[in-house]
């Protein structure tokens, strides 16, 4: 058996629909067409009436999911692209995120965001929204980086009683493969040491985990052992695992594909500086995409987001400090 990251997402949805009659999926073109990326391929025929085509109405899609959750359903919303979730932003951050705190009624919805960049996708089909949503109390933000996590974390997300923003990375859809799926992965909220090391820590998530591992592999040729921490979940964030890694290495670089202003990388550094200042041998650094809209041409796009090369360059500076 060989499974891609995208197939793992499809399999997790299949499993959720199979085992829990309260689950349904709502999104644009997800029925017979199987979704823009085919994450729901054949699910419509396997679970008739529970994989429902939505109009192009992201606000109403999320509002519908919230109402359905109040009535005991466990809806999964597929946003065609993470970028379009901004149209449903209000329902997500004001209605879904506040529902439990205000009314004591949980709001178990999962909003799948096909996130991040692929070459040639341009400014409106490449955005990473995790930092935006992580800003709001009442939401859980997951960023799986592996096929195994894509499967198990999506299933776990569907079981949670809170609104979950599930940031699945489009670049990983076809690039990652696993031979088999383990029975379980780490629980939600736990970070993973993706690659052990002792000279510096890279904290990354989603597609940036793989770029960071490639950078670490290159630096190994020069004798540096770089530890890569995969956050897996950006909210809640596993500060303990990050601090433990920094305690081993004394140096920190945090890498995110989203825009640089504020966000997950800033949060990680703030926490390490506040709680682990004494562990640091060098000022902690971060590397994000450039502070411009996301470019269309691959030449520009490749230089816009962090890559193994740019992460490697940052690490070399950090190691020399």
């Amino acid at each position: 058996m060989s499974l891609t990251y995208l197939e793992a997402i499809r399999e997790a949805q299949y499993e959720a629909l199979r085992r829990d009659p309260r689950v349904f999926i709502y999104g644009q073109d997800i029925g017979k067409f199987g979704g823009a990326f085919k994450a729901t391929k054949h699910l419509d025929s396997e679970f008739p009436g529970r994989v429902i085509d939505a109009p192009i109405s992201e606000d109403a899609m999320v509002g519908t999911a919230i109402g359905a959750a109040i009535e005991g359903s466990r809806p999964i919303i597929e946003m065609q692209f993470a970028d379009f979730s901004s149209v449903g932003f209000n329902q997500i951050v004001n209605q879904a995120a506040t529902q439990f705190w205000r009314t004591n009624v949980p709001c178990p919805i999962v909003i799948r965001l096909p996130s991040g960049g692929t070459a040639g996708s341009g400014p409106f089909h490449s955005q990473s929204m995790e930092s935006i949503y992580a800003h709001y109390p009442g939401l859980i933000i997951l960023t799986p980086a592996t096929v195994e996590d894509a499967y198990h974390m999506l299933l776990a997300a569907i079981d949670l009683d809170d609104p979950v923003i599930f940031c699945e990375h489009k670049f990983l859809y076809y690039h990652l493969k696993a031979d088999s799926l383990p029975d379980a992965t780490l629980p939600i909220g736990k970070a993973r040491i993706a690659r052990p090391g002792r000279h510096a820590t890279v904290v990354a998530y989603s597609a940036m985990v793989h770029e960071s591992i490639r950078a670490a592999d290159e630096l190994q040729q020069d004798g540096y052992q770089i530890e890569v921490v995969d956050l897996r979940s950006v909210k809640p964030i596993d500060t303990d695992t990050i601090l433990a890694s920094v305690a081993r290495t004394g140096r920190l670089l945090c890498v995110g594909e989203s825009f640089p202003w504020g966000g997950v990388t800033a949060e990680v550094i703030a926490r390490v500086v506040a709680d682990g200042f004494h562990l640091l041998d060098a000022p902690p650094q971060r590397l994000n995409a450039k502070d411009t809209p996301i470019p269309y041409h691959p030449n520009l796009w490749k230089a816009h987001r962090p890559t193994a090369a740019s992460i490697g360059a940052e690490l070399r500076k950090l190691l020399k400090f």
Binding site: T103, P137, D162
Partner: protein, 343 residues
């Protein structure tokens, strides 16, 4: 194919209308009395947390909808000025006074205030301030029941004002409800002003009922100051939705008889609008109509007012003596999944 209609529904017999109008009027009185008391508490200062938003002038349309609904079976998302409708749907007066006074025993426990209250598990979702958003929430509640096979002949009613019909959320949700043919009744309270903005700066169509046609749903216009007409129109609309004819839109027109909230003196409303037929107060007008039809005596109406005052005084007194939220006892946890709470 659905058809839009501006035509009034067939005349309902007096026998049917009488108890419904009596019921609606009772809750109109309760709402007016309660809100007048809350408004004076607000003006006195110190007791009410936040603002007070009253439904003065809107009671007939508001209560006329929910006398056709059954709590425990139907769904209802009343909005900012729907105190009368909430009461007619069965909201306890304590839920209102506790929320306004910040009692920790209220449904919002001091975490949210005034008109934002609700009991979602009892078919009354709690509104947020962003208008238009509750339409799709009611739609989702109906869709869930349909998927779970528990929908029966339940109806989900949702309310919006003339201002709120300009939001994208409203249009997306009504369109979606129409596609899914959900048993939804959309009550549009056209009170002529969106805060201070008059109709002609809010929309350019002749009538908001025209919007129903655009979604392929049935729409009705009604004089929002005329209680029997409102009851009759909603009776028709709710029955059509229950019978599987999809979403129904009712637009009631009347003037908002106060400011947006008690902080607003509404000085932007011209005298000629106040003196127009739409500026009439539905409460004395309804009283007059019901007495003329012999459905109430003057004494019975007086008794309704006396009972409402007594009820409101008791609820305010009780809520005032209840504990307030305590920041030291508050869990400060926004998540339902306790294992995921960060230290």
């Amino acid at each position: 194919m659905s058809t839009s209609s501006h035509v009034a529904p067939p005349t309902t017999s007096a026998e049917t209308l009488k108890p419904l109008c009596q019921q609606a009027f009772k809750h109109m009185v309760r709402a007016r009395v309660l809100e007048d008391k809350l408004a004076s508490l607000y003006r006195a200062g110190g007791r009410i947390v936040g603002g007070v938003y009253v439904g003065r002038g809107q009671e007939a349309l508001s209560a006329a909808l929910t006398v056709h609904l059954t709590k425990g079976k139907d769904l209802y998302a009343g909005l900012i000025r729907d105190q009368a409708g909430k009461m007619a749907f069965g909201e306890s007066i304590l839920d209102a006074t506790r929320t306004y006074l910040g009692s920790v025993l209220g449904p919002m426990r001091g975490r949210d205030g005034n008109i934002h209250r609700g009991r979602p598990r009892e078919g009354m979702p709690a509104m947020i301030s962003h208008l238009g958003t509750m339409v799709s929430v009611i739609g989702g509640m109906l869709l869930s029941r349909r998927l779970q096979g528990t929908i029966g002949d339940c109806v989900g009613a949702t309310c919006i004002g003339d201002g709120g019909t300009s939001t994208g959320a409203f249009h997306e949700a009504v369109n979606l409800a129409a596609i899914e043919k959900l048993p939804m009744v959309i009550s549009v309270a056209n009170n002529l002003y969106a805060y201070s903005t008059p109709n002609n700066r809010s929309f350019a169509c002749d009538s908001l009922v025209d919007r129903a046609k655009g979604y392929g749903i049935e729409g009705y216009a009604v004089d929002g100051t005329d209680l029997p007409a409102c009851v009759e129109t909603f009776r028709h609309a709710v029955a059509r939705a229950r019978a599987g004819h999809g979403p129904q839109m009712v637009v009631g027109t009347f003037l908002r008889l106060s400011g947006h909230g008690e902080h607003d003196d509404a000085s932007y409303i011209p005298e000629e609008v106040k003196n127009s037929p739409q500026g009439r107060d539905c409460l004395p007008l309804s009283e007059q109509k019901l007495i003329e039809r012999g459905w109430f005596t003057k004494e019975e109406v007086q008794e309704l007012y006396d009972n409402a005052k007594d009820e409101a005084d008791k609820a305010i007194a009780k809520s005032s003596s209840e504990p307030l939220p305590d920041p030291y006892k508050e869990s400060w946890n926004a998540l339902a999944s306790p294992l995921l709470v960060e230290e």
